[in-house]
């Protein structure tokens, strides 16, 4: 039986006490965003840009709510300063669940341009990065959330088209 990835991700967020989530949409993330919006145990505050979302997450964390940002990889560029001078400089834990557009299975050529830069940018920023390619990779999501809180770092979880298509 195929894993319900949207539900599984939501369950892990709840199991790991994530109470504040901000999102900027991607069609691959539509299902998980809907799950979060309908979940009373999580405060969902959509943001207009990803660096704004990181500011919201920092405020929520300091207010006692563990937070998470859900975003697309094309926005990595606009978050470099926030990641460096806010999240890393002050040592805030920030799980980033990222739709990895532009990989095999992509229909839009322009998405490939940022896909090429995604892992090099994260590596240049010394951000621990995990790549979910097969649906079973979701098994590690809970442990990555724990690792993020322990390390007090931004941590990227890249989720590609094959992962969301159920590996088929």
């Amino acid at each position: 039986m195929p894993i319900n990835l949207d539900r599984r991700i939501l369950d892990e967020l709840i199991a790991n006490d994530i109470e504040f989530v901000t999102t900027v949409p991607c069609k691959q993330l539509a299902g998980v965003i809907l799950e979060i919006e309908n979940e009373d145990r999580i405060l969902h505050v959509p943001s207009n840009r990803e660096d704004e979302g990181m500011g919201l997450c920092v405020g929520a964390y300091m207010g006692g709510k563990k937070s998470c940002i859900i975003m697309q990889n094309t926005a990595i560029g606009v978050t470099i300063n926030a990641l460096s001078t806010l999240i890393q400089f002050y040592q805030f834990p920030l799980p980033m669940l990222i739709s990895f557009r532009g990989e095999v299975g992509e229909a839009i050529a322009c998405q490939v341009e940022m896909a090429i830069h995604t892992k090099p940018l994260l590596a240049e920023m010394n951000i621990p990065t995990y790549h979910f390619h097969n649906p079973s990779d979701v098994e590690e999501f809970g442990d990555i959330l724990k690792y993020t809180q322990m390390s007090k770092k931004p941590v990227a979880i890249l989720t590609d088209s094959n992962f969301w298509r159920g590996g088929g």
């Binding site: 997450c57 207010g63 006692g64 300063n81 001078t85 400089f89």
Partner: protein
């Protein structure tokens, strides 16, 4: 009055409140005038002061004041619709609008020309937007704090800076002492709620 004079004038009102303060000279000035563990100084990440303030206000019950600048909010105007649509009545966004990028040498911003931040905030859906002159800032801020209503204040003032030193606190120290202060207030509030129930 310039920004530093506005800040000095509002210190008695904000001294015991949770404050998120904008990067550069505003944080350095607040640090000089009234350093408190309840002040979160931005050392970087220009433009995110309002967003941090909203996230904090939505996540706990104490009042939160975000001290923004016109240049800073102009880099993150997307924060205003988010603020308008996620109402936190314990949140005051206090924008000191000196129509200039003070920390970089007083280059003019567009708020000294055609752009009204008051109009922008209202158009974004913020329901309580107050524009005041620098001299009226303490009264406007006090009224906002007492209203228990999310308020955006646009305080018009003159450009100009005073000599200040950089903040020598480490970012982790700023974070830790601020979070301790948030937790202390949360514990105090719970105790008051318990006592109120008992009586």
């Amino acid at each position: 009055m310039n920004r530093s004079e506005v800040l000095k004038a509002i210190v008695p009102i904000i001294s015991d409140e949770l404050v998120i303060c904008n990067v550069g000279l505003p944080s350095q000035e607040l640090f000089l005038f009234d350093d408190q563990p309840s002040n979160f100084y931005m050392l970087g990440a220009m433009g995110l002061c309002s967003s941090i303030g909203l996230g904090l206000a939505l996540s706990q019950y104490s009042k939160v004041i975000a001290i923004e600048g016109d240049g800073s909010i102009l880099t993150n105007l997307g924060a205003l619709p988010t603020i308008a649509n996620n109402v936190a009545n314990n949140f005051v966004l206090f924008i000191i609008d000196n129509s200039s990028y003070g920390s970089t040498g007083d280059q003019p911003t567009y708020t000294g020309k055609k752009t009204s931040l008051t109009g922008v905030a209202a158009a974004c859906g913020c329901e309580c937007v107050v524009e005041c002159q620098a001299e009226d800032a303490p009264d406007a801020l006090r009224a906002a704090m007492e209203s228990d209503r999310m308020t955006v204040i646009v305080c018009k003032c003159q450009p100009g800076n005073i000599p200040v030193s950089v903040i020598e606190l480490s970012p982790v120290t700023i974070r830790d002492r601020f979070v301790s202060e948030v937790e202390r207030r949360a514990v105090k509030q719970k105790r008051v709620q318990k006592l109120t129930k008992l009586s």
